[in-house]
Amino acid sequence: MSKTYELKMGAATREAFGKALLEVGRKNPNVVALDADLSKSTYSTYFAKEFPGRFFECGIAESNMVAIAAGLASAGKIPFASSFSAFVLNKGFEQLRVTAAFPNVNVKIVGTHSGISIGEDGPSQMSIEDLSLACSLPGFTVLSPADEVSMVALMHAATDHVGPMFIRAGRPKVPVIYEASQQFTIGKAIQLTEGTDVTLIATGLMVAESIRAAQALEAEGIHARVLDMHTIRPLDRDAIATAARETGALVVSEEHLIDAGLGVRVAQVVSETHPVPMEFVGIHNTYAESATPEQLVDKYGLLSRDVIAAAKRVLARKR
C-alpha cells in the first residue's frame, strides 16, 4: 500500500473540463469550442463567456457538430466538441468514423455525463458503451480521467497532442486523488499504491473505489497495487504486463459495460504478455434506471465492496 489517500471530495470531472478548456483557450488561440445545447451542463460555458467568437453553439444537432469540428480541425484549428457522452458519441458516430478517424484529423470530442452515476435522468442519458465506441475508431486516443487534477492536466496534454481524441467526463463530484504537482503522460498509467498480491486496475470513478478497496484489503494483510488507467487507448502495455508478472492477479473496474470497455482490453494485453487470473467489475449486459447516483452505483455493483469481492475471488484462483 505505502501511500494513504484522504480522498476529499472535489469537483466533477465535467467542471474540471470546463475550467481546463478555458485555460487551454487562453494559452492557445487555435483552440475553439463547440457544444450542442448542453453548455451549462458540460461547463463549456466558461470558455463561451470569455471567447464568444471562438465558441460555436450548434443547437441540438450532435452529428452536425462533430463534422463541423472535423472541418475546423482539417483547417488547422483545435476544436473541443462537447455534449453528453451518450449523444455526442452515439449520434455523432458515423461522422466520427468518416470525418475524424478515417482522415485522422485533430478533433477533441468530450463526452460528459458518462456512466450511470448521472442518476435520476435515467438510461437514455447514460453512456455505458462510450469507451467501446471510442476505442473502435482507429487512431483515436481515449482518455478517462478520475479526478479534477488529472482532467486539467490531461486537457493540457490533449491540446498539445495531435490526433483525434475522446475524453470521458462524469456528472457527480468525485474525490480528489492527486496532488496538484502530479505529472501525467497520455498512455502512461499511474501507480497509486504499491503491492505484490494483486493489482487493481481502474478508470474514472472506479479509481477512488479501488483505492478504498486497497486500503481495506491492507487491513487484512493483502497488499494491493492500484493503477489508474486514465488512458484507455493507447493502453499502457508495460504497466499491465509488469503488474501481471509482479502481482500474479488482476482486477479491472470500470463504470461501463463489463464486456466492452477497459477490462477486455486489459485482458487482451495480459493474455499476450503474461497470462494470470483476472476478475472484472462493471455493468452487466443491461441498461440502468432512474435513482440517485449513490443508489445506482450500489445496485449495479460499482463500489469498493465490489472491487474487494473481486480481489478475493481472483486471489482464490491465484496459485
Binding site: 445545447d37 453553439e57 443547437g59 441540438i60 452529428s63 435515467g122 437514455s124 434506471e289
Partner: protein, 273 residues
Amino acid sequence: MQKTTDAAQLSALARRMRRTAIEMIMEAKSGHPGGSLSIAEIIVTLYFDVLRHDPANPQWKDRDRFILSKGHCCPILYAVMAECGYTPKDQLLTLRKLGSIYQGHPDVRFIPALEASTGSLGQGLSIGLGMALSAKLEQSDARTYVVLGDGEIQEGQIWEAAMFAAFHKMDNIVAIVDYNKIQLDGFTKDILDLEPLVDKWRSFGWHVLNIDGHSIPALQQAFAEASATKGKPTVIVANTIKGKGVSFMENNPKFHGAAPSKEEFAQAMAELA
C-alpha cells in the same frame, strides 16, 4: 376514464395536471417543469378527447398511438396517463426514485403503454412513422400523434422523417411542435433559430396549422382538420409559453430543467389552485 369534448372541463383538467406535474418534480427534486407545463393542453386534449384508446386494453391493435418525442417532459404525460387509469395515481410522487415505474424519461420497460422509450431527442417522429406505416399495412385506421420540442427539431433526423412522411403521403400521422421558443441553453432564436418555421414544414410537403397551443378549441379544431386532411401529413405548430401557468416559470429558461425551491413551490401551488 371519462372522455369529453367540453373545453372548460378539459381546461380545468389541464390545470390539475400541471399541479400534479409540479408536485412530482418537487418531490423528485429534479425534472423538467417548463416543457411539461407548455404541453398541458396538448396532452389533455389528446388523451381526453382526440385519441381513440382504452386504458383497460392498452394493447388494443387499432388504438391511436401517442409518442412524447421530447421525453424529458414526461411528468405531465405520467400525470395524464395515471388520470386515464393506465398507471397507479398513488405512485406518481415516486417519479425518478429507485424502483419507480415513473422513470426520469419514458421507458417502456416500466410502462409499456408509453409506446416508445424516448429521451434522446430527434427520434420520435421516425418511430411514429413506423407505427403509421404498420397501420397502413394492417389496413387499420389508427392514427399516430407525436409531440416534438422546438429545440428538438434542430436534429437532422426530424427533417429526414419529414421528407419521408410527405413523400409517402402519410395522412395518418400528426406532428405537434411545442413552439415554446426555449431550449436548454436559452432561447431558440439565440441558439439556432427555427424561423421561418411554418414555411419550413410547408416546403417539406406538410399541411401546416399554426395555432395557440394553450387554446383547447383551437387544438380540437386543428386535430379535426388534421383528420380530414388526406394525402399529406399534418403538423400543428403549437405556439406555447414555456412554464405556462406558473408566473415565475413562464418564459424563463431557468425552469427548463430545475425543480422549484420550497417557496417557489408554494407559490406555484397557489397559482395553480
